[in-house]
Amino acid sequence: MAGILVEGYEIRTGLFYDDATDMWVEVQDGIAHIGYDPLGLEINGTLAQLAMAGTGKEVIKGDTIGTLEAEKFVGPIQSPVSGTLVEVNEAAMDNVSKIHAQPYDSWLFAIAMSQPSELNDLISGDDIVSAFESRVAAYRVKGVLAR
């Protein structure tokens, strides 16, 4: 999958992005694998601890699906799509250095999507680069990202 550097952050054009949660989403056969994108990692800082709900939990987009303690944020992990939590990537959650070094190889949880049409609300295709640039700019204006 093609990777492009935008404002110093790697993005991948074949994925979906959710700017509300700073997560990437990869969908295959109705299953969404989800992880933090490089900008999300920068905003949150080091992800020290993650605790996920048990598999089988049903969520609506935006629902809390776990909690995290990061260098700059302690709070809920929200799901960018609706569905059922079918898998938690325990190996990734035990390997913080890999999450930060290779965020796209470190999905955190998988959701069997109940509302595939929600993908239309995520950012994809030709919109990814401009949307990512806008997100970086917005975070800089808000003062949560260094210029």
């Binding site: 601890q49 709070g75 959650m93």
Partner: protein, 367 residues
């Protein structure tokens, strides 16, 4: 239009479970409320209690035998950060506010820090935010901050050192400083200060309390109102006490990652330094610089702050040190990163897995 801020005062000597339950109830009820009213609570705990950060492992952070012998309670905050000692001489500040007021939780956190710093300014102490979570006075920590987002509201916590029993702290907390023996007390003095330490006999608990209210009103453009806790707040607080903060499960619900400690010696322009590091999994929880100097140079105390929360990975560590450390003129970032990673690997690879003890629930507590 000026927002309302409900102020709760007068809680002193509260138990750790009750204090934490009320704080969380504040953020829950603030999130549910349609009034947009924030809540500020200024209080102190009963002598003494240890409050752990959200994901810390109880056995790895606290000397449990010592706590039991001294009848000191232990509990776990919903906010992150490290273990703290609380009691009559430490001022707890809890502030719950709608997250809609900020572009991000972190932005709200900056304003919360400004409010605490502003209060210190009012009583004559010039302080500043250091790193991510501490407020310092001339390089010494005087307050620790934390925050937690729950639904549509955020809870901010501050523990402000009015005074501090350093010997008690060293005997209770398993911090690298405790390993320094007699030097540990000096090391704490090098790194912390208190309101009494700064103001001497001019220090007054009530004056700090009044300054906090004034400063929060100004920073959050709010008008204080003094009403008793609502029925909903009391009920939520009672539920949280029974279901969470008074339970053993919550106390021992630590995060993942084995806890450990290791040290590394590094040659620098000013001599050989020993870096003592406590880690949980691959993340550095705390770091202490020691060496043959009477008091740690400021650049090296700064290094301790930079290393806290760092991932133990050579590339990530080097990048972090270069980005944020003025002390790179004293220390070569790549050499430092390599030394830390090698020491971690040496200890990590040799360590036997421990199923019971240190980072796990002690056997006697599992029944």
């Amino acid at each position: 239009m000026m927002e309302e801020m409900q102020v709760f005062l007068g809680d002193s000597g509260v138990s750790s479970a009750l204090g934490l339950a009320f704080d969380e109830a504040m953020v829950v009820e603030t999130g549910r409320s349609e009034t947009g009213r924030s809540m500020l609570r200024i209080y102190s705990y009963a002598d003494h209690c240890v409050l752990l950060g959200r994901f810390q492992r109880t056995e790895a952070e606290v000397n449990l035998d010592e706590a039991k012998n001294r009848n000191i309670s232990i509990n776990r905050r919903s906010t992150g950060g490290g273990a703290i000692l609380m009691g009559n001489d430490q001022i707890g500040v809890a502030f719950a506010i709608s997250s809609d007021r900020f572009a991000s939780a972190r932005q709200g956190f900056s304003r919360f820090a400004d409010a605490v710093i502003g209060a210190l300014e009012i009583i004559g102490i010039t302080a500043a935010l250091r790193g991510k979570n501490d407020i310092e006075v001339n390089g010494k920590k005087i307050a620790g901050l934390g925050f937690y987002q729950s639904g549509r509201a955020i809870l901010f916590h501050a523990s402000l050192l009015f005074d501090l029993d350093k010997e008690l702290l060293l005997s209770l907390l398993k911090v690298p400083l405790a390993k320094l023996g007699a030097h540990g007390l000096q090391a704490i003095s090098d790194r912390t200060t208190t309101v009494i330490g700064e103001l001497g006999s001019d220090a007054s608990f009530q004056r700090v309390q009044e300054a906090l209210i004034d400063s929060f009103e100004r920073i959050f453009e709010a008008k204080s109102i003094y009403e008793g806790a609502s029925d909903a707040l009391i009920a939520t607080s009672r539920d949280l006490l029974e279901e969470k903060y008074a339970t053993t499960n919550w106390l021992f619900e630590g995060g993942r990652g084995a806890c450990g400690e290791f040290s590394t010696d590094i040659r620098t322009a000013i001599g050989t330094l020993r870096l003592v590091i406590a880690n949980q999994g691959e993340v550095i929880k705390s770091a202490v610089v020691t060496g043959d100097f009477n008091s740690a140079p400021r650049e090296l105390i700064e290094l301790e702050e930079v290393l806290r929360w760092a991932v133990i990975d050579e590339t990530l560590l080097t990048r972090r040190i270069i980005k944020s450390l003025d002390a790179s003129k004293v220390l070569d970032p790549m050499m430092l990163s390599r030394a830390i990673c090698e020491s971690y690997q040496n200890v990590h690879q040799k360590a036997e897995p421990r199923r019971i003890g240190s980072c796990y629930i002690p056997e006697e507590l599992t029944s």
